[in-house]
Symmetry: C2
Subunit: 143 residues, 2 copies
DNA sequence: TTTAAAGTAACTTTTATTGTTACATCAAAA
DNA sequence: TTTTGATGTAACAATAAAAGTTACTTTAAA
C-alpha cells in the first residue's frame, strides 16, 4: 500500500501560503512539494470544498487562504481530505458469522479505535499557526 | 493502498488451532481464511521463525502451536510479522532542509508516535487466549 | 486577442499485499 | 520401494489506492 502523503504535503503548502500575500498558483505549490500542478489542484480542491481556501481562475489567479491558520486545526484538514482510514492494518471479513473472526476483529478494532481517537484528539489540539512557529519566524526574519 | 490483513487472519487461525489437537495443514488454514495455502505458509513461516508455531512435512504433517495462547500477546504476533508501519499517513521527504517541512513532519510524527505507542501497549496487554474467550467457549460447547 | 490561470477527464505509474502456478523436498503409508 | 500428502520456495500475476501525466476546456485579466 502506498502511503498517503497528502496531509503532510498540503500542510507544508498552507504554512508557506501564510507568508505570501498574493494568490499562489498550483504551479508554485507543485514546486514546493516537487510534484505536478494537477496533483496539487486535486488536493486543494478538497480544502476549497471545506472552505479553508479559495481559488480564482485567469490572470493573477491562484489560491488564497480563506481564514487565518490559527483558526484551522490538523484535524480540520484531515477531515477535509476525506477522513480516510489511518491504519494499514485491515480486518478480514470473509467469515463474519465465525465467532473467532468476530472476536479477533473486535479486539483489533477496539485497540485501533482507541489509538485513532487519541490521534484525532491531538490533531484537534494543534492549529496550523503552531506548526514550527518558533523555527519559522526566526527563519523568515533571516531573509 | 491495500490493507495488510495478515495480523487479523493469522490470529483467526491461531485461535482455531487451539481447539484442534492434531497438526493443522496449510490447506485447512487456507479454507479458514478463504485463501491459498501458499499465502498461509508465507505468513506462518514468520511465526515459526519467532517460535510461536512448528511445522512438519510429509504425511500427517502440518502446523502446531509451540506454546499456549496464554503466553502469546497480540504484540508478539505483530512483531513476528515484521513490525511494519501501521499508518497510511506518510511524511513528505523531498525537502528535508525546508524548515516548514521539518515542522509539519515533526508535528505529525509526534502525534503518530504517541498513537502507535498506545496501540502497541494495548496489544502487549492482550494474550491470544483472551480473544473472545467467553463467546468461543460457549460456541465450542454447542458442538 | 492573447495569455495565464484553474477545472477536469482519462490514462499511466508506482508500490506493497495478495493470489497463483509450478516444482522441489521430505516423511509416512501402502 | 513407490506412492501420497505435506511443507518450502521461487517466480510471476492480480489488485488497489495514491501519485503522476497528458490533453483539453473554461475563465478572466492584460
Amino acid at each position: 500500500m502506498r502511503k498517503d502523503s497528502r496531509l503532510s504535503r498540503v500542510l507544508h503548502i498552507l504554512v508557506h501560503m501564510q507568508a505570501i500575500d498574493r494568490p499562489v498558483t498550483s504551479e508554485q505549490m507543485a514546486e514546493m512539494i516537487s510534484t505536478n500542478p494537477v496533483v496539487v489542484r486535486r488536493t486543494m480542491a478538497l480544502l476549497r470544498t471545506a472552505n479553508y481556501v479559495t481559488s480564482t481562475k485567469g490572470h493573477h489567479g491562484g489560491w488564497k487562504l480563506a481564514k487565518p491558520l490559527a483558526n484551522i486545526t490538523l484535524l480540520d484538514i484531515h477531515h477535509a481530505l476525506g477522513d480516510g482510514s489511518i491504519f494499514t492494518i485491515g480486518l478480514s471479513d470473509e467469515h463474519t458469522q465465525c465467532v473467532i473472526e468476530q472476536a479477533v476483529n473486535e479486539a483489533l478494532n477496539d485497540v485501533m479505535n482507541e489509538a485513532e481517537a487519541l490521534m484525532l484528539k491531538r490533531f484537534g489540539q494543534i492549529t496550523l499557526d503552531k506548526l514550527g512557529a518558533d523555527k519559522i519566524s526566526s527563519y523568515l526574519k533571516e531573509r
